[in-house]
Amino acid sequence: MNLRQGILKSFDAGSYTATVQVAGSLAVWLAGVPVNRGIPQTEMVAGRRCALVFFDDANPGDAVLVAVYT
């Protein structure tokens, strides 16, 4: 399990997933990251920092955006 920092780039309220620029990746962003449903969608503002938990660091689908902050 790994904790990584990122910057929120976009949010899909329908699927409750986000596109995130994981720290260290200048050019390519990670899409489809499941978002903690406890976070109100109004807080999912592009440009805010966020925290990601990768339960399996190799599987982008086995991760969750757990916090968004400024």
Binding site: K9, S25, L26, V28, F54, D57, A58, P60
Partner: protein
């Protein structure tokens, strides 16, 4: 020992003085560029046929090839032979091709792909017409792709292959790619420009090459390497007569395509090699009593540089003379000058391809969706990023059928990514030279060699150890399977290992994972070590038979899990021996 030749400047324009070295003086780069651009503008609407004379040394504008439907923004051409050539050009976001056959140009036709913009084209003929395209997709994703216009080798004649991603940048990332150039310099090499318009903007040239043994259609490129060259139009690459050439409006460079070779065998006093499953190291002690290695700045010894290749080839003096094995390949990490009680020594330190993997760090996020790429293809990609070729000596069904969702995190090492991929399959990776070979270490693998009968065993220790675990639980997406080593459970109770992977969506796939985990453990059940005279052909993961009556062993099958090599001369106790660590088959 050898290394790729350094590029030498043929003519460059000094940044500050505007003067050129090694060639006639010209005006400023800006003026030169302006004159070229003016000329190109004049030619935009009318692309002219280019014919070569006098072995291609003189080019003349001779006729119209095609009339474009709009302004031509990028073009590239490649010549095959006997009057066959291909010209590709872009009008807006559409790439057109026009082919010359038997000296006659055909009609232009648009390609079968779609991009939102094109920001560069390159073309080279090498079995097929191989093309690089920079641009962006309608989604805003910028990229550099390769594509083949078939000449009947990897792609059917006069058809387009799919676009193959070489590098991408997300929409809105302020990164774009431009101006590729392509040439076969020993192997395919590709140059392009990466432009970043965010904070601390840059416009830098990058270069890459195909991984060893890989063809253009495999699209297995080394991670692009940054170059100390800036500018929107990058470098033009060409190859010929044993040289690779690069040029910009303000400079021309060339590098020999043959690597200088330095033979060190006579100077070797001691050599030590350590080979483990994911690590290989070399230490060579050379005589330096006359200070021959004190100056590495010029002459033959200039080949000794960090990153130079060392081919280590042990052998024997036989009845038919000295013979040596092809040996292993290492890359120099560094060296020491040693004063050992009056003895002057020069010690080289090298590491094998695993260090190349360890030192490759992902520059960005790499992501593959489930079903997109098999573990085999992912391994080939990661090894290629580190400049290593990839092939299989044997392979499990799983490695070519499992296509997991997979990501490589920014700054993660190639070795880490390979380790995570290998953890999904029963296969292991044997790194030899500049290749990684997949090996499926099955219990039924044929015996490769025998020790203890004709090849003496000098020392031996044969151990029995418990495995780390003898019971496996694999948790997939909504499922769980188990596997057991019942003999082990009976001996020492159950030792549990759990694995979690949501990529596993069927019990069959989860069972394969459990089997693979236990298979890796089975090989650890034996813990033997033998000291033998050097076997020049010994490789990791070979299966050998061991006969040692003092330990009650007769043709006992073992697998080589690690080995060390020691060569010492000019010492009271000379040595030429190997120590093998053996596990169960």
């Amino acid at each position: 020992m050898q290394r790729e030749a350094e590029a030498e400047a043929v003519a460059t324009e000094a940044a500050s003085s505007g003067r050129r070295r090694g060639g006639p003086q010209q005006g400023s780069a800006a003026a030169f560029r302006a004159s070229v651009e003016e000329r190109l503008r004049a030619l935009e609407r009318e692309m002219a046929e280019v014919k070569s004379r006098v072995n291609g040394l003189i080019f003349l504008i001779a006729g119209t090839v095609a009339t474009a439907s709009g302004a031509v923004t990028w073009m590239a051409a490649a010549l095959k032979s006997a009057g066959t050539a291909l010209l590709v050009y872009s009008v807006g976001a559409t790439v057109y091709r026009v082919k010359r056959l038997n000296g006659v140009w055909g009609s232009p036709a648009a390609w079968s792909h779609s991009l939102a913009s094109v920001s560069g084209l390159a073309c080279n003929q090498y079995f097929d017409f191989d093309i690089a395209v920079a641009g962006s997709q309608s989604s805003g994703v910028a990229g550099l792709w390769t594509v083949i216009y078939g000449d009947g080798y990897s792609q059917a004649l006069d058809t387009w292959s799919p676009l193959m991603e070489l590098t991408l940048a997300s929409a809105g990332s302020s990164v774009q790619f431009r101006a590729p150039s392509l040439a076969v310099m020993g192997r395919y090499r590709l140059f392009f420009v990466e432009k970043y318009t965010g904070s601390q903007a840059y416009t830098r040239a990058y270069w890459t090459h195909l991984a060893p043994g890989q063809t253009f259609v495999s699209n297995t490129w080394r991670e692009p390497v940054v170059m100390d060259i800036e500018g929107d139009f990058g470098l033009a690459a060409a190859a010929g007569s044993g040289w690779g050439w690069l040029s910009t409006p303000s400079g021309v460079w060339r590098a020999s395509l043959s690597a200088p070779v330095l033979e060190l065998g006579e100077d070797v006093l001691e050599a030590y090699v350590e080979t483990r499953p994911q690590e290989g190291r070399l230490r060579v002690v050379l005589r330096n009593d006359d200070g021959r290695y004190n100056d590495l700045s010029g002459g033959a010894y200039a080949a000794i540089r960090r990153g130079s290749q060392v081919d280590f080839s042990p052998g024997y003096v036989t009845a038919s003379g000295p013979v040596a094995s092809p040996g292993a390949r290492y890359w120099i990490e560094g060296w020491d000058y040693v004063n050992d009680r009056g003895r002057a020594l020069f010690v080289l330190h090298g590491s094998d391809g695993w260090a190349l993997l360890e030192n490759w760090r992902a520059r960005r996020q790499f992501t593959w969706g489930a079903g997109e790429s098999t573990v085999y293809a992912l391994l080939r990609f990661v090894l290629g990023c580190a400049g290593l070729g990839f092939d299989a000596l044997s392979a499990s069904d799983t490695v070519t059928s499992l296509s997991p969702a997979f990501t490589i995190q920014p700054a993660e090492s190639g070795k880490g990514a390979v380790g995570r991929l290998l953890a999904m399959v029963p296969d292991v990776l044997l790194v030899s030279g500049e290749y990684g070979y997949l090996v499926n270490p099955t219990a039924t693998q044929a015996t490769d060699y025998e020790y203890g009968v004709e090849h003496a065993i000098l020392k031996g220790r044969y151990g029995c150890r418990p495995t780390s675990f003898n019971r496996v639980q694999v948790f997939g997406e909504g499922l769980m399977v188990e596997d057991f080593d019942w003999t082990g459970v009976g001996d020492i109770y159950d030792r549990l290992h759990q694995a979690h992977d949501r990529n596993l969506t069927s019990t069959a796939a989860a069972q394969d994972r459990a089997d693979a985990l236990l298979r890796h453990q089975e090989m650890q059940a034996a813990d033997d070590e033998v000291l033998v005279p050097v076997n020049c052909g010994q490789e990791l993961y070979d299966v050998v038979e061991v006969t040692d009556p003092r330990a009650g062993l007769s043709a006992a099958r073992r697998r080589v899990l690690a080995m060390s090599f020691r060569y010492v001369r000019n010492r009271p106790s000379p040595a030429y021996e190997m120590r093998l660590r053996l596990g169960a088959v």
